[in-house]
Symmetry: C2
Subunit: 103 residues, 2 copies
């Protein structure tokens, strides 16, 4: 049985390919595939991902080599940044709550 | 219910804290905690992680700010690199197999 970290890695790989394989280059996310992934997989994190402008911004931020596609490495950079942001959010919450109590 | 990507992110966060919380600074991995994580969670990827030298190398590679600890961001960089390596391995495999057949 895979460990937790192995499962997390497999899930990242499988989910990327679930969307990247839909059209065009099987190993990269087109704009449409990225939008679908953002809405279906990260809707609760990137609330306004239905908004084309938000998707355009994420696309431009991710598309480091400017080929109009998001490859796996660029995708992992997004996921890493989101995961660090989540971790920081859950760590800061108790600190903020206790600070609020002492005010 | 969390999506696949949300589950993967949560698993990365929970697993890091499972080990980082054991001794010293609750939010960073000491050498001992890192070794335990590598053996228990990534043993099949980093086969020789029982070998102190291998752990030392991973520690030095990860410990970007040289504080002798691995923080969450440094951990995510490791996980990102491993996940990209895994993805490349599984993508190259079919290409190698088909190349081997044509030799």
């Amino acid at each position: 049985m895979p460990s937790n970290l192995e499962s997390a890695m497999q899930m990242l790989i499988k989910t990327f390919h679930k969307y990247s394989g839909k059209e065009g280059d099987k190993y990269t996310l087109s704009r449409g595939e990225l939008k679908e992934l953002l809405i279906e997989e990260l809707g609760s994190y990137l609330g306004n991902s239905k908004d084309n402008e938000a998707v355009e911004k994420v696309m431009n931020d991710l598309d480091a080599n400017n080929d109009g596609e998001v490859d796996f490495t660029e995708f992992i950079i997004l996921m890493g940044a989101l995961t660090v942001a989540c971790n920081d959010f859950f760590l800061d919450k108790p600190k903020e709550d206790s600070a609020a109590k002492t005010d």
